[in-house]
């Protein structure tokens, strides 16, 4: 490869089906790996956490962005992390948080996980670039 390889952290703050952010970010992510660069992590923040809901169920002729992203993350072994504070406020729950807060259900889609803003801080400190995908309202 002639040019230097970059490694990115992607931050998605727009929700699927109300913004274009997750779709644009996924297009960018595929382009990154196709060009020989790498994604360190994908961090879902604010409204972006809705992307990790296992319960979103769009009509069959529309793309399921949760599955499409899940496929990318698994195929390229990229961690997909939803911010815990954003997630809990918006009802995105993993089994550990379900138990801790005594909630009736959990709904975090594989392979996403829930963690703190420290994951984003690590991206800022270590990735060559941090790219933000906003809802743009």
């Amino acid at each position: 490869m002639s040019q230097e390889s970059c490694h990115f952290t992607l931050v998605i703050t727009g929700a699927p089906y109300s913004s274009q952010a997750p779709q644009t970010a996924l297009g960018f992510a595929w382009a990154v790996v196709a060009s020989g660069h790498a994604i360190d992590r994908v961090f879902l923040y604010g409204e972006g956490v809705h992307l990790a809901s296992a319960l979103s169920c769009p009509p069959s002729d529309e793309t399921n962005w949760t599955s499409a992203w899940g496929e990318f993350l698994e195929q390229h072994s990229v961690p997909g992390i939803a911010c815990i504070a954003s997630a809990l406020r918006r009802g995105l729950i993993d089994p550990a948080e379900q138990q801790r807060h005594e909630l009736p259900a959990s709904n975090l889609a594989a392979p996403f996980s829930i963690a703190g803003l420290g994951e984003w801080v690590e991206g800022v400190m270590q990735s060559s670039r941090v790219i933000y995908f906003h809802g743009g309202d």
């Binding site: 703050t13 703190g116 803003l117 801080v121 400190m125 933000y132 743009g136």
Partner: protein
């Protein structure tokens, strides 16, 4: 790595500003240098004497007053936006630096975040 987080929306109407502030506090907690810049309607965050009890929210003024204590390096505001909203020495919360040249300010940072 110097990070600047920009807030361009007024407080209370949306949650995005609070989440931007959380990003700043989080960097500071990891000893990463971070400053906040308020532009446009975002300067209303800096209005002195806010009381948000009527809308069942916590005042953001209290969060901002704690910013220095938690390691946020500076609170800056676009001077022309402050003029537009009549924010002066008396109506601005303490410890805010007003800046005239936004371009020069942005250039001082390695990482600029518009949390959206």
């Amino acid at each position: 790595m110097q990070t600047l987080i920009i807030i361009d929306r007024p407080p209370y109407g949306s949650w995005s500003g609070r989440e931007s502030l959380d990003m700043a506090f989080s960097l500071a907690a990891f000893d990463q240098p971070v400053s906040l810049l308020f532009v446009g309607e975002g300067v209303l965050w800096l209005n002195k004497g806010q009381d948000a009890t009527g809308i069942a929210q916590k005042s953001v003024e209290r969060n901002l007053k704690a910013a220095a204590m938690f390691g946020i390096e500076s609170l800056m505001a676009d001077q022309s936006a402050c003029q537009r909203f009549s924010l002066t020495g008396q109506t601005l919360i303490d410890g805010v630096e007003t800046v005239e040249n936004l371009r020069a300010t942005l250039r001082r940072y390695d990482h600029v975040v518009f949390p959206g």
